[in-house]
Symmetry: C2
Subunit: 308 residues, 2 copies
């Protein structure tokens, strides 16, 4: 039996403090997004389509009555379709994602096989508009946690700074030139507050700058002190011809995205911007725990055996 895990569970009283902080953080997220008039949708767990991601993971397909389904890696396509269908200003979902990371991530301090994204999409929004919403959200959550969880933060020895707007913004191309390929970690170690990095070449759905091909109108939110990336997002491409070209440029198979592309072909998708914030990564930062597994009750670390 797994005596170690049981021992950890029954003696680590930090967990109840961590989950009290998590409870306040989640409550303040719902309060803020409700105040912003966003519509909350339920998560999708299984679908014929999901995010192709930019890094390789084990591809698990599940068969139900002869149909192949995938576990959600992110709800990007469902978000784009939902926001166009409902015609609302913005949506959000507390979206569990499953990513069967390859064993190489076993040593990662910030990866879990399953985690929850706060997935947001705003109709017709620009990147700066989305970034401002997120800055306001982060400031609201940090402030609420600092106010409601003074005792818990004290026991955990966390000195939580409330960041000021606007957050610093860096361009990934400049950072890569200055710091090399590991620029994200290096600058996260230097910064004192949350900051943005923009313009990453990645998935086909992030908007490419029509005037500067190869550059993207997208962004990652980073936390300082080496905690690194906590949100990825961007403005979205939504026109059929552009999406199809970008899928082909990435040597991906358009038939994998068939129903999504059909929406685009019929002109049913709309401009939007959005992103996904990793809840567990935010809790890790709020509690200043080095290992993300230490803020979960039932740890699912890539490459390791799962107990519960």
């Amino acid at each position: 039996m797994h005596g170690l895990e049981i021992e950890r569970f029954s003696t680590d009283n930090h967990l109840s403090l961590i989950f009290r902080i998590q409870t306040e953080a989640l409550k303040s997220i719902h309060d803020f997004l409700h105040e912003m008039d966003l519509v909350q949708l339920m998560p999708v767990i299984l679908s014929p389509i999901t995010d192709p991601l930019t890094h390789p993971v084990h591809d698990v397909r599940i068969s139900y009555l002869g149909q192949e389904l995938q576990l959600t890696k992110s709800m990007i396509f469902h978000k784009q379709i939902a926001i166009a269908t409902l015609g609302v200003k913005g949506i959000y979902i507390m979206s569990p994602n499953v990513r069967f990371e390859l064993g190489a991530l076993e040593e990662s301090e910030k990866h879990l096989l399953e985690f929850t994204q706060l997935d947001i999409e705003l109709q017709g929004a620009t990147a700066p508009e989305f970034m401002l919403l997120m800055e306001n959200l982060i400031i609201h959550v940090f402030s609420q946690v600092k106010e409601s969880c003074e005792k818990e933060l004290d026991v955990l020895d966390v000195d939580l700074c409330i960041p000021s707007k606007p957050f610093n913004v860096y361009n990934s191309w400049n950072l890569r030139e200055k710091y090399g390929s590991d620029f994200g970690y290096k600058i996260s170690m230097r910064e004192k507050d949350p900051f943005w990095i923009t313009d990453f070449e990645r998935e086909f759905y992030d908007k490419e700058d029509p005037h500067r091909r190869g550059h993207y109108i997208n962004y990652d939110l980073y936390f300082p002190e080496g905690f690194g990336e906590v949100l990825s997002g961007g403005e979205r491409d939504y026109e059929y011809k552009i999406l199809l070209r970008k899928i082909q440029e990435r040597n991906q198979d358009p038939t994998h995205f068939e129903h999504y592309l059909e929406y685009a072909k019929q002109g049913l998708l709309v401009p939007s911007a959005g992103g996904g914030l990793g809840i567990e990564r935010m809790i890790r930062f709020l509690t200043k725990k080095k290992l993300i597994k230490d803020i979960t009750l039932f740890p699912k670390v890539p490459g390791t055996r799962i107990v519960l």
Copy 2:
């Protein structure tokens, strides 16, 4: 292509009303449970163990690095372990469940392959204590929705009644005698307000009355007008010998629940009561939609092809 679904998406403006109501309902749930001082945990999607349920479903196992995992059918075991580990008064989780229902449910008005349970567990609570919490929650949610969504309810032609405490309580044995095996639907058609049915013989973890073997200290919450069951729960058995006997009585294999039983064997589990409320079933009632698929954006009806 699936032109029909796309047409429905782009023309059914009821969906934006339904999701506005859902947003208010979810917000009022978080407000209420936060006020009650419950700790919110993140959902578990994959685990070596999950609820065996009392009705048969396709058993899907997923292999990750040689380990077999299941999609969560309910978080019952994780809830029992969590509440014992954290030593808090109560926990809740917005828990997506996947149940690969057999094709026979294709005609069901109230089943989805995936749905979200509001899963609650209260340490040391009795059945009446949990039932009172739920009655207060239902009254709070209905009142908030009625107040915030007057316009939406009006367009949907819903006359939402706010129930009074205490809800009616019926015993399943009496109902079965009076109405036959279909008693749940029949009494749901007769009632005007939410009500409870108690004492169901089912999963091994629901507490058996020690003085009346074969009777159980558990409950289902039903909605009236034929909408039927929306919550199942009970006091829990937590002692190793009792759990083991009940597993064996059901011809289930104790090794399937190995890590859970190890907690019980070490005396680490504690008395509790709880239950799981189907969010989509509640939204179906609040919007008085006959078919549960009509309150989802991406319908997943048992036995039918999944588009998105």
